[in-house]
Structures are given as C-alpha cells and as structure tokens.
C-alpha cells in the first residue's frame, strides 16, 4: 500500500493497472480515438468499467458522465501519476541474450526511459557499444551511476549473481530495480523492486486454452 498526495490509500493492484490504462489509451490515441467510455476502455484491457472508475477516482476527477474520458487528457494525467512526464535514466547489468534484447528494445525511450549504461564482467564485451550505449565493467558501477544520474537498474544476470548485483546497485544509489533473474532479491525499503517472470504471460494463455476444452 502506498499513499498519494491526498493521503488516500491506493492499492498496489490499482497501481499495477495504471500502466495498462496508459498503454491502451496510447494505442487508442494512435487509432485516432478522442473520447473513450469506461466500458470500451474496460473491454480493451479486460477489467470492468466499475474497476476503472474506482481506480481513477483515487487520483482525482477524470472524464464526464455520459461522455467518457478524453483520451489525450487522461493519458497525460495517468502519465504524470506514473512519473512518465520526465526522463528516467536506466542501466542494464548483464549482457546475456536478455540483456542484449532489452538494450535493443525500441519501446523504452518513447516512454521516457533512457538507457545510459550497460554493465558486464566479460573483458570481450567491455568497451563495446549497443545502440551507442557503452558496456562498462561492473567495478565502475558507483562512478558511472552517479555521473550519469541513473535511477533504475535492470538485472539480467544469472540467479546466483542477482543478489550481489542488487546490493551493488543499491550501494551505487539506485532507487528502483527491475529484476529478471528468477530469484527473490532483498533491498532496503526505500528501493523499489519489480521482479519479472516472463513465463507468467504464458501461464495466463495456458489457463484460457485449458478452459476451452
């Protein structure tokens, strides 16, 4: 649980849905849709219109009764809530296949996430560039993260190195960690960790297919 500016308690479930709202509004805007009802927005995301109205009411008054939400305005508002109205500097630690793919992922920078550094321990990789971003030795993490004002670290090292990397990132001053290693990592309470398990997406698909038989 987290408190917003008005001290209302906002559940983690609500916060997890905001990026989905943001993303769906963005796709709608790209389709030329200017106004969207909570029913239509809910249908696209797979939540009830009541849930959407409840989620958004926690942050203020959006939309007009009988009209719907103004797509661009709601998108901007949710973007502000999510902190997407600014640039975040990110770093990737671990240049395996996944680190490589994430370093090349085209959809981060339009959302304001700028890759500023990549770290590894392999001498073959250090000094090279992926999309104009340099790969540094992890021993230089403290200086680089500080000098480049990096706030978010992405961990794509093997599971048995993940906690050590998390400790180093925290020591270097990182405020948020996106962990792709299949292990729980411990950090101080002022650092926020999201653990990503790509097989979660597949599990949801297998549920729906199973139910059809």
């Amino acid at each position: 649980m987290k408190e917003n500016k008005e001290n209302a308690v906002i559940s983690k479930a609500t916060i997890d849905r905001l990026p989905l709202y943001y993303r769906t509004l963005k796709l709608s805007q790209e389709e030329g849709i200017e106004i969207i009802s909570s029913e239509e927005l809910g249908r696209k995301i797979g939540v009830t219109p009541e849930q959407i109205r409840k989620d958004l009411s926690a942050f203020g008054e959006f939309g007009k009764k009988g009209v719907g939400y103004y797509v661009r305005e709601l998108m901007r508002n949710i973007g502000e809530i999510l902190g997407l109205n600014r640039t975040w500097n990110i770093a990737i630690v671990g240049v395996g296949h996944l680190g490589w793919a994430l370093a090349n992922y085209a959809n981060f920078s339009p959302q304001g996430f700028q890759l500023r550094a990549i770290f590894d321990i392999d001498p073959e990789k250090i000094g090279r560039y992926i999309n104009e971003v340099e790969i540094f030795h992890i021993d230089t993490m403290n200086e680089i993260i500080s000098a480049r004002d990096i706030q978010i670290g992405i961990i794509t090292v093997p599971a048995d190195h993940a906690q050590n990397i998390a400790d180093r990132l925290v020591e270097a001053g990182i405020k948020g960690i996106w962990n792709f290693a299949p292990i729980k990592i411990d950090v101080p309470p002022n650092v926020h960790v999201i653990s990503e398990d790509l097989s979660v997406g597949l599990s949801s698909i297998s549920y729906y297919i199973s139910r059809q038989h």
Copy 2:
C-alpha cells in the same frame, strides 16, 4: 470474464494474479517453506490477504483456518487451474534480439512450455538452430505447427508485420498468442491473445520512485 467448471464468474484480474501466486509459492517451496498464511503470501506479492482468500475461493476450498496454505498442495492446485500440469508446445515467430532472447530463456520449460519451432524469413537464419530448436521459413508454418502440435505462438516481429503473422498463426491452428509487437492484433474469439509491453514494468517502478520525493 470467464466461467469456471462450477459456472461461477471469475474475473480476468483474478486469473492474472494466479501466475503470481504460483510463482511465489514456487519460490517459497524452494526456500523450504511448507505452510504459508494468506498474510505472508499477500506481503510477498503485494495484495491483501482478503484478496487472496477471495481469489482462491472462486476455485474451491484451499488452506485451513488458523493454519494457512500448504505450499506444495496449493501450488499443485493452482498449477492445474492454470493448465501447468501438462506440456504446451510453443513457437516463436521472428528471430530479432527479443526472439533470440526468448528462445534462450531458461525459465519456460520448467513450467511446461516447450519451444518446438522458430520461424523467420531471413535465408541466413533458416535451417539454423537455437538450443536445438530449428528455425523454419514462415511459409512452412501450417505444416510445422500441425506436425509438432504447437498450441501457442509468440510474436516478436516488427509492429507492421504482427497482424499478418497473427493471421497466419490462427490459420495454422494456434489457440493462444503472446504478442510482443507494440500494436493491437485482432484474432477470432476462440484464440486468446496476451499483449506484452515490457515498458509496463518500468512504469510501475517510476511511479514508486516519483512518490518518494
């Protein structure tokens, strides 16, 4: 909304949380935890204990009052609900950086997802193997998907090719699609699509960091 065997309506939000429960129970089991309370499980996932009890009650009776949930038993039950008590054959379409990373992702097969084929159009890539799985030309999709009994397709092609690939996968008999292309794809109602936007994870982190200042 989807109906379970007993015809109770189960929300998509509940279904989306089940893989998180499953994953957290699995990590708990690996830590040697045999019994877990809904409070502890909720703390690890970031949802309320009431939500967990409500979600699980939709599928039957789990756990004992005053004792908690038996980790292994609950994991097996949720695994069955999610269709993880069997093997699913999957295919990846598009061998860019992300397709390559997913083909090498180690965490799918322990969950029962077996990569059986990879498709691309690049003559340089066709006939090669990633982790013993062959890369085929997409024109052979119908035969390969049928012969290898592939149920789930993963789309990692550029956005402007995603709908065409989705159409081909559906025609080939696929039942579920995991779409990484940043575009909405349309499929018949009997095919289930999950669209993945990796920047959603970062948006959630930026929310929490923003709120701390």
